[in-house]
Amino acid sequence: MAWFLRKSKNISDSSPAQREMPDGLWTKCPDCSTIIYRKELEEHAYTCPNCDHHFRIGSAKYVSVLFDEGSWTETDREVRSADPLDFVDTRPYKARLKEAYSRTDLPDAVTTGTGRIYGMPVAFGCMNFGFVGGSMGSVVGEKFVRAGRRALESRSPFVFISASGGARMQEAALSLMQMAKTSAFLTELAEAGLPYISILTDPTTGGVSASYAMLGDVIIAEPKALIGFAGPRVIEQTIRKKLPEGFQRSEFLLEHGMVDMVVHRHDLKKSLYTVLSHLMGGKRG
């Protein structure tokens, strides 16, 4: 195997599809096979300079793409997953968590904090697909609400980037309830007249899509992201037909009226700023 396709040592926990972009010096574009130098990738906001493929990136890289230099403060990093159900499938949940911590150096499937976008203070959260498939458990729900509370307290907008395969199965009904918890919180934000912008990245499916991801006052999707409630495989098994090309991709959702716009990661910061400026600029009597 080529050295630039480095794989993590342990392959039992997640399929390659579950992982984010590898951190090598060179990266090969999975769409057009162009070999891209790391610096070039950074300059292109982690998209392919040749074909615009958007690499899956985690919260740290999104922070560097979106926030003014030195403006970012991470919050609630110490909030960690417990194992309330003592869940064991082929492996204990505790072991899966331990491995995810050591492999990713992430606090969970979400990172939250505050920062500035062209000087505008913003409360922010971003999911990490690399942490147990970006699955939503109690920590994701709790940190979503806490990040949103910071928006309430400072009367600033709330921006949240989704990247998730759905619920954290190992937290069973508790993970399901995070859909209700996060959606309930958004009613408070709406009552306070503060904007909530939801950014959908590849992939945004399951319980995350059926709660806060689809509740943005404005919803922005990155190009070609997989977005939907049911996964394509489950749908194919149900209807016993091949799905059409482009089904459940951002452009398909735009066409069907489910998202406001599809924005290249290059332009994400600018678009976000423009939308927020409009929404925050209304004259209140």
Binding site: A173, M179, E188, A230, T238
Partner: protein, 317 residues
């Protein structure tokens, strides 16, 4: 409602019942009444014994029993003056979610629930209780109606999940469910949720945010069905029993983690064994819950409801 469907773990009971029936046919010629009575007591003891020690997977099977009362059965037998309302005013009427106006005692309510079918024909019509987006949007319309006319809401949850179809995705299944969670969280009337059978994932929760979450003794509620959980985590369909255990999806489990407020007891042998008794219990529980919620002011109600869901989850820090 009786059918011939017997669950595996009920077979010893059915065997004994057969034996009793045989003896009864001989009772005209032989004096065996005492033996029959003895066997009848034995059946009851066996039934209580089996139903006291149900595994989680056995409860899932009871929750799916084809004779189990469904939403429209509860509406017919526990409520009065039901007027069914149809359609989402946008696309079509979804028969997998039913709803309308009704009374319980002297309280007027809006009632909404998932609806399964009993045979192939009605199951195709009801899509096996798996709603499409228009079902959730019909519910959304009815919740708005409830708020506008100050009517408390009762929701019966019983679905194997939201329908994972191509058109369902096209029409925004995710958005439809999300919109309901948002609406229900701050709806300015009392909402009572009752999980009567299967509470599978977002498809159940899509009409499941409320002030009181009640659950029938043998219903199940979780983020995924045991079979699907088995196929994803064990990569095989064979581990459904282990998955049911791991998911802790029964009513007592959900009381333990603070999701369910109250378990509604079922007749011994399950709701389908004595539907009349089940309806009587359900009606008195609903009356009681409605009267308690009726005394809370609207703003307190919404504040408490949101707090209730904020408290859900377990983490360390």
């Amino acid at each position: 409602m009786a059918s011939n469907s017997t669950l595996d773990f009920e077979k010893p009971i059915v065997e004994l019942e057969k034996k009793i029936a045989e003896m009864r046919s001989l009772a005209d010629t032989l004096d065996i009444q005492p033996q029959i009575e003895e066997l009848e007591q034995q059946v009851e003891r066996l039934r209580s014994e089996i139903y006291r020690n149900l595994t989680r997977w056995q409860r899932v099977q009871i929750a799916r029993h084809p004779d189990r009362p469904y939403t429209l059965d509860y509406i017919t037998h526990c409520l009065t003056d039901f007027v069914e309302l149809h359609g989402d005013r946008n696309f079509r009427d979804d028969p997998a979610i039913v709803g309308g106006l009704a009374s319980i005692g002297d309280t007027r309510v809006v009632v909404v629930g998932h609806q399964k079918g009993r045979d192939t024909k009605s199951n195709l019509y009801r899509n096996f209780g798996m709603p499409n987006p228009e079902g959730y949007r019909k519910a959304h319309r009815l919740f708005s109606l409830a708020e506008r006319f100050s009517l408390p809401v009762i929701c019966f949850l019983d679905t194997p999940g939201a329908y994972p179809g191509l058109e369902a995705e096209e029409r925004g299944q995710a958005e439809a469910i999300a919109r309901n969670l948002f609406q229900m969280a701050a709806l300015k009337v009392p909402i009572i949720i009752v999980i009567i059978g299967e509470g599978a994932s977002g498809g159940a929760l899509g009409i499941g945010v409320g002030d009181r979450i009640l659950m029938l003794e043998n219903a199940w509620y979780s983020v995924i069905a045991p079979e699907s959980c088995s196929s994803i985590l064990w990569r095989s369909w064979e581990y459904k029993e282990q998955a049911a255990e791991a998911l802790k999806l029964t009513a007592p489990d959900l009381v333990d983690v603070g999701i369910v407020d109250r378990i509604i007891p079922e007749p011994v042998g399950g709701a389908h064994r004595d539907p009349e008794a089940m309806f009587t219990t359900m009606q008195s529980v609903l009356r009681e819950e409605l009267s308690v919620l009726g005394s809370i002011t609207t703003s307190d109600l919404v504040t408490k409801r949101r707090k209730k869901f904020y408290a859900m989850g377990v983490w360390t820090e």
